[in-house]
């Protein structure tokens, strides 16, 4: 269990490191690893937010992320497929955010009556329908996709500026989601996650809370999607097909779907494994079946699948959960007293106390998996 203060200090240290990083890292590392890590991290953080605070594991976040790209592409590009409105690149931002929020509201209302596994299946279905929509409806894209979507002049050919934009969005997302969890809305949302019956009998509108949380996550995913289209410059329906949709869930799960920080950690591990796995000394020289079927360059999906399988079999709360358990074990070993030991007995409903809502949500989840609706054994 990490103490609230420690968690903040660590977050600040990491942000400072990320701010100075471009001065040391290579251009490739900044542009292809870190910028993407931050963008994917924000998208994955929306999954974690919905799961950890709302009890909804959503597979529609990648769809919304992609829809932002299609929205920008349609209004900004001036030739090729789509609407080709050719507007000023900045105009794409509000358009994409409005489109994504409205889409998220619609999907949120439709799925607000379900939770858990039903929610997962429903949002996966929405995602795949979205893929076919952009594939078949040539008014907006068609299977060929859109190319030549220019970012605003401010970001054009300036990978470091885009990196800092992604960093700012990440910090805002992280701080924003944690702040939301302490507002009356966020506390009520956690109540809805833990005990919808009690919340309903207390007069809270359960479905409205779910739908609004989903809309909020959709807005953030849309913002990340705008940065992504500026980074990428092109988008086609296959980039929102079922495989990348699952990849985003995998990122969130690898990082640890009950901790917000896990989203960025998961994205870093995912991209790092994709780019650097074959450079690990010793791995390149194994040869034979393992080389052909697992480590070969094109077999990255197998590696990801195996990684996901191992994590789900061993540590369902992901790498973050692993780190927390490790640091816990170390602390116990050296006999340090636990300043938050008094909170151990806290039930999940108590965790909605505004003062420590965020910290103890994470904490309670480590202690009592029964309270965790996201990945929970049946009581």
């Amino acid at each position: 269990m990490m103490v609230q203060g420690q968690r903040n200090v660590m977050a600040i240290v990491i942000v400072v490191m990320l701010i100075v990083m471009p001065s040391f890292g290579s251009d490739f590392f900044v542009d292809f690893v870190m910028t993407r890590t931050l963008m994917l991290g924000v998208a994955a953080a929306t999954i974690v937010f919905l799961s950890a605070y709302g009890g909804m594991v959503s597979l529609a976040q990648w769809l919304i992320f992609g829809v932002a790209g299609f929205a920008v592409g349609n209004v900004v590009a001036d030739s090729g497929r789509g609407l080709t409105l050719g507007w000023e690149p900045w105009v794409g931002v509000p358009v994409a955010l409005v489109v994504c929020s409205l889409l998220a509201l619609l999907l949120g209302v439709l799925s607000s009556r379900s939770t858990g596994i039903y929610f997962l299946m429903l949002t996966l279905t929405f995602s795949v329908i979205g893929f076919y929509f952009f594939g078949q409806v040539t008014t907006f894209s068609g299977f060929g996709g859109m190319t030549g979507i220019d970012p605003p002049a401010f970001f054009d050919g300036e990978p470091k500026r885009l990196y800092y934009a992604a960093l700012i969005l990440s910090v805002l997302t992280y701080a924003g989601f944690r702040a939301v969890s302490r507002t009356p809305f966020g506390v009520a949302l956690q109540g809805v996650r833990d005990d919808p019956v009690r919340m309903a009998s207390l007069g809270y509108n359960v479905q409205l809370h779910r739908a609004l949380a989903f809309t909020m996550a959709g807005f953030v995913a849309g913002a990340a999607g705008v940065l992504n289209i500026w980074w990428n410059g092109q988008i086609d329906p296959s980039s929102i097909s079922i495989s990348p949709t699952l990849d985003l869930l995998i990122i969130a799960v690898i990082g640890g779907i009950v901790h917000l920080e896990g989203a960025w950690l998961g994205a870093f591990i995912f991209l790092g494994a994709n780019i650097y796995l074959r450079d690990i000394p010793g791995l390149g020289s194994i040869g034979g079946f393992v080389e052909d079927r697992i480590l070969a360059e094109d077999r990255f999906n197998t590696v990801v699948g195996l990684l996901l399988l191992i994590i789900m079999l061993g540590s369902p709360d992901g790498v973050t959960g692993l780190i927390i358990r490790l640091s816990d074990a170390v602390r116990r070993r050296f006999g340090r007293s636990r300043p938050d030991a008094a909170r151990l007995g806290a039930t999940a409903v108590d965790s909605s106390e505004p003062s420590d809502a965020d910290g103890s949500v994470t904490a309670d989840r480590d202690r009592s998996p029964h309270q965790n609706q996201a990945i929970s054994p049946r009581p």
Binding site: L122, S243, I250, L308
Partner: protein, 377 residues
């Protein structure tokens, strides 16, 4: 499903409140009741309009410019479209009933169902090629019924064994943690899809129907492929066998009881672990059999797995999770919408047929949140 049960109670408690005051919005109980029937009314109007449209309004040349005339004007076209929907529904049912059987009993959402479908399709194609002795340009005249049924059944059995293996290794000990199980099956699906890409390549392959069913017959002046009716026949046999198994045998009785109350079944001294393994075998077998049928009907390719996972999901969400009856109803509705949309939507809008799927889902969920035959648990 336990995590869901509070929600349902929440449903009743929120919908039974006498009035709602939300900002400037004031609704008394009468108005609320009116509000609740609105989705049903919308559903009724949509269905009514679709029926009138197909029967009378659709017209090739007139302003609507559909690719098929109305049912009154061109009965042949209508029958063909209807048969297309019915035969597709048969295949959908075979695949989705396996999915829903596993979910109904174990609360395990098998995200690898589509991957099992595709794997069986590839294996069946491979076996058929070996039996016929040709790897390409297999002519239907080379294929005897045995050359179709043996590959299909062997492939389905292999995939079913794989399914049981997956269940025993990865799912048996964390029974009840439904989200964890779903993500484990996602991992298996991702690995399988990638390995199939290496093994079978990225080119579309097809299985060949036996010679006896590859011809056409006349119906209302239209030609129709016998192979599609053959597929429907297999689906009906599967459906009947499933019905007899679930309703007339001891094992089926145990499974139905397990769907209702697993703890009670266990308390009565029945070995639930064996029942689970059998259900997983049958569920995966159905995915595999569907895969062989699908490979003959539309071919197997990269991405077919995702497509059939989607098909299974749509069918069971419409029909209600865990209900075989629901799988039949969902297959019919979804199959018909896939068949009728391209024929009867105005030509400029035929590519909007995917939105029709979404509308059906949305309407069903608005009227019956747990699907047509689903039970709030």
């Amino acid at each position: 499903m336990v995590t869901d049960s509070p929600t349902d109670v929440a449903e009743t408690s929120t919908t039974d409140v006498a009035e709602i005051k939300f900002g400037a919005l004031h609704l008394n109980s009468m108005q609320l009741r009116m509000l609740r029937v609105i989705p049903t009314w919308i559903a009724g109007i949509l269905i009514g309009f679709a029926v009138v449209w197909v029967l009378f309004l659709a017209d090739r040349s007139f302003t609507t410019a559909t690719s098929a005339g109305s049912a009154i004007a061109e009965p042949g076209e209508f029958i063909v479209t209807f048969l297309n929907g019915l035969t597709l529904a048969g295949l959908l049912f075979v695949v989705a009933s396996g999915f829903t059987l596993i979910f109904g009993l174990m609360r395990t959402v098998n995200m690898a169902h589509g991957a099992f479908f595709l794997l069986a399709a590839y294996i069946a194609i491979e076996i058929q090629q070996n039996m016929v002795g040709k790897t390409r340009n297999i002519d239907p005249s080379d294929v005897s019924p045995l050359d179709w049924f043996v590959p299909a059944l062997v492939a389905a059995t292999i995939v079913a064994t794989l399914g049981v293996l997956m269940q025993q290794l990865f799912l048996r000990w964390n029974q009840g943690q439904d989200m964890r199980q779903a993500i484990i099956t996602v991992a298996v699906a991702v690995i399988l899809a990638d390995q199939m890409l290496v093994e079978f390549g990225a080119l579309a392959q097809t299985m060949v129907w036996p010679e006896q069913v590859v011809h056409f017959f006349e119906i209302f002046g239209e030609r129709y492929a016998t192979s599609r009716l053959f597929m429907l026949g297999i689906s009906l046999v599967v459906g009947a066998a499933l019905w007899i198994w679930l309703n007339r045998t001891r094992m089926g009785m145990v499974i139905r009881a397990g769907v209702d109350d697993q703890d009670m079944v266990r308390a009565l001294g029945i070995n639930v672990a064996v029942v689970f393994a059998v259900a997983f075998f049958v569920g995966s077998f159905l995915a595999g059999l569907g895969g062989a049928m699908g490979a003959s009907f539309a071919g197997a390719n990269v991405g077919t797995d995702g497509q059939w996972l989607l098909n299974s999901l749509v069918v069971v969400i419409i029909g209600g999770l865990g209900s075989v009856k629901g799988a039949a109803a969902g297959s019919l509705l979804y199959g018909m919408s896939i068949a009728f949309a391209p024929a009867y939507l105005p030509l400029d809008y035929t590519y909007y047929s995917i939105i029709l799927t979404f509308v059906i889902l949305a309407v069903v969920l608005a009227v019956r949140p747990y699907g047509l035959f689903g039970r709030a648990e």
